[in-house]
Symmetry: C2
């Protein structure tokens, strides 16, 4: 019923002054599309290649004040994050990312530089996965809400579901764990450094090529760690009808993360086990020999009901930190 | 950083009390998926068939207070509309819809019945196009924001772009025009009937099968009418580098619409020419003989610069109503 009005010619650089078409132009013009984009922005819809004959598709919505704070993250970080969390879902199916579409709702008073910086971050993250933004929509709203849809190609393989883990399989992970939680703890105390840890909260760096690599290696189940290692392995346990035991001796705690935890009086292993938003990949493989290079074995799939909890840590229920585990029971 | 908490067991039926997973379950459980959904809700991403080897994809975002009012429309209407506007974009490329994904942001205080009714409308509209909801995301926000991504299959045909109209082509339309504008005018005066016209504002009824039919018949360009006939034909004119002349004698004004206009002292032809949100399809064809059954010829493609405006009405610039035309110049 209401749309941003057209450019008033006054030099005003808000989204409302540029209008819908001006805003879309600011976000899309001068960007180069990959070969997978058959028809890009500017028509009724995009057309993207789907050589496999099936397309992997996922949507995640990020809301200002809920999923990001513009006083803690720059718009470029938020743009990167919004694309990354979706691409992580695509690769967790074992698919190669092929495209993203973006829906952006924001107040008409938003400076156009905020929108172009968001777009810069989205394009940068898409480029990290070898793809581009094929389309989108910009609308007016009271709060910044970013919805991203990511598409992917299975390259002829079966999708790797959450439900395929079998007792005796090996649990392995690839990527970072606990870093985003560490970064959030730093920001929550009012600090802005170390920047490597803080940036891990601002945007994840999922290992995009490792999802298809795990599928190629025969992964029986896979998930990206958005809620926390224990919570997401619990999802694998529920979907597959199995249990898991995680061996903490194999969970690497980086020195930088340990230093930050020490300074804040926190347990870095708790961040690693329960911290979300790093979007590492966790997968099961039919044996030690099938775990791809670059992945670390962190546990074992056990029969359902064989342990004191669906997911145990070093053989027992996890009770560390501020009660982390029961959040997800 | 914050998520709806889990069910408190208090009988509270808000989104916050059910939590993210309970809400997703309320929206997805007990729905039947079409064959095109290979993997539905519940994993990291959906998998949808794309037999053509290319996938058509589009995203539209609808915001409470901007695109809909929950005091004027029931949640089911809003659900229908959110899916319909996206499917209209898919069929305007000449593609057959294959799936939709939904991102829903709403306050935690939202009653779960509002969410299930929204979902009912989405599923009903998807069913009208022979498809289902393959996935989505629900998050917390201050305002209801619905993002829908629709996917479609080109069935081996070239996409019908906005840029293919050529001088000498015939302009034709299929669907309703002016009804949503009439319904909005009724609601704006505080009335709630006639319900047929009012409902046209609440949700459009795009002619889904006619997009692929037009493509099959050789349509040279196509668009769905979201901004208004003149505005959207202007988009065809700009993209194709041509002009258009619309013949009002061929624009049908339904008796019910004429009666409403008469009662409100409005010009129904103005609604037909400038009213948006009906999502009729407008396409160009290489000759009268190629216009499919069910479509109405409403004008002619002329060389760019041959008329007094890029889009003329009965040979002249349109100056009717409350200055409609200059909104979109």
């Amino acid at each position: 019923m209401q749309k941003p009005s057209k450019d008033t010619g006054s030099g005003d650089r808000t989204v409302a002054s540029l209008g819908e078409f001006g805003t879309i132009d600011a976000v899309t013009s001068g960007r180069s599309q990959p070969d997978s984009t058959v028809v890009g922005p500017g028509d009724d819809a995009a057309v993207v290649t789907a050589p496999d004959g099936r397309v992997v598709a996922t949507t995640d919505v990020l809301v200002q004040g809920v999923h990001f704070r513009l006083d803690w993250s720059q718009p470029e970080h938020v743009g990167r994050k919004s694309v990354a969390v979706n691409l992580a879902d695509v690769v967790a199916m074992g698919a190669r990312p092929s495209s993203v579409l973006v829906g952006l709702a924001c107040p008409g008073t938003t400076d156009i530089s905020t929108v172009t910086e968001l777009a810069d971050g989205m394009w940068a993250e898409a480029a990290r996965a070898g793809i581009g933004l094929a389309g989108g929509d910009t609308v007016s709203a009271d709060q910044v809400v970013i919805s991203v849809t990511a598409l992917g190609d299975l390259q002829g393989r079966a999708p790797v579901l959450r439900s395929g883990a079998r007792a005796g399989d090996v649990l392995a992970m690839c990527g970072r764990l606990g870093w985003a939680a560490g970064g959030l703890a730093v920001l929550g105390r009012g600090f802005r450094s170390p920047v490597g840890v803080v940036n891990a909260h601002r945007y994840p760096e999922p290992p995009y090529t490792e999802g298809p690599a795990a599928a190629e290696a025969g992964a029986t189940s896979m998930i990206d760690v958005s809620d926390g290692l224990l919570a997401d392995v619990q999802h694998l346990a529920t979907s597959s009808g199995v249990g898991f035991d995680i061996a903490t001796q194999n969970l690497r705690v980086d020195d930088r993360l340990a230093e930050v935890a020490s300074a804040l009086g926190a347990d870095p292993l708790h961040w690693v086990l329960t911290g979300g938003e790093d979007h590492a990949l966790v997968a099961t493989f039919p044996g030690e020999g099938s775990v791809p290079q670059g992945w670390t074995r962190i546990g074992t799939v056990v029969p359902a009901g064989s342990g004191p909890a669906p997911v145990t840590v070093d053989g027992g229920p996890y009770t560390g930190g501020d009660g982390g585990w029961q959040h997800w029971r």
